[in-house]
Symmetry: C2
Subunit: 139 residues, 2 copies
């Protein structure tokens, strides 16, 4: 019944673990550097192949804005997700707001388009960093 026989090979598992250990997006070559610690012969293709698989299967998102990758919070459902990145602390938060997703879907349909993929990436400052900024306002 399971429609998703996801096969996690050693490389894919390693890359996934590297992404799990971070709450900010990581570039492919940063991932490569980490991967080399457990697999000394890793090369860019090793990472890109794993990332391709993981993104195709919804376990990882690419942040196009940054050419970087983050773990998906809820790989079980596939809707239009939103990623918000704090430009001060680089922390990325994924949300999957249904109201927003369905509005996007609706607008695209109304315009006659059939969506295959949609990304919403927000660059912003998070609450915590905003508070910190207030403290340093004298600057």
């Amino acid at each position: 019944m399971s429609a998703k026989p996801i096969k996690l090979t050693t490389d894919r598992k390693s890359v996934l673990d590297i992404l799990k250990s971070s709450d900010s997006p990581k570039g492919a070559y940063d991932i490569l550097d980490e991967l080399k610690k457990v697999k000394s012969n890793a090369v860019p293709m090793t990472v890109y192949r794993a990332l391709d698989y993981l993104t195709e299967h919804g376990l990882v998102h690419k942040v196009e804005n940054l050419n970087a990758y983050i773990l998906c919070n809820h790989p079980e459902h596939h809707h239009i997700c939103q990623i918000i990145i704090c430009e001060a602390c680089n922390k990325a938060t994924e949300s999957c707001d249904k109201e927003l997703a369905s509005l996007v879907q609706k607008k695209a349909e109304d315009a006659g388009f059939k969506i295959s993929k949609a990304i919403l990436e927000i660059t912003a400052t998070c609450e915590e960093c905003l508070a910190n900024d207030k403290g340093n306002a004298a600057l």
Copy 2:
């Protein structure tokens, strides 16, 4: 009174004209190839500098998804814009739906974020291409 003294130098004007002549996003190096026709000593920096200026001033959008650039339809107002790209014909359509923009704004605020930039990029198939596909459905 005008808050926007946009200075279009020769290079910027040339790059803008190149983008005006296309309804699909163009990569920086494609732009460079065209720019060389009118400025033989153009190099990547020439294009990137012009693109940086034009995007900062809202005359051009970068399509992060494609690492490509398109003309902005309505440089006069600055909200959160949406770009929808047909993956069949590559034509890009920009919209600036206020309902969508304000919902994004609201969701981000509710989550405690102060937006500095938001991009919504949709990869889809346009009405026309969908119709064509139906015709070739036998494939």
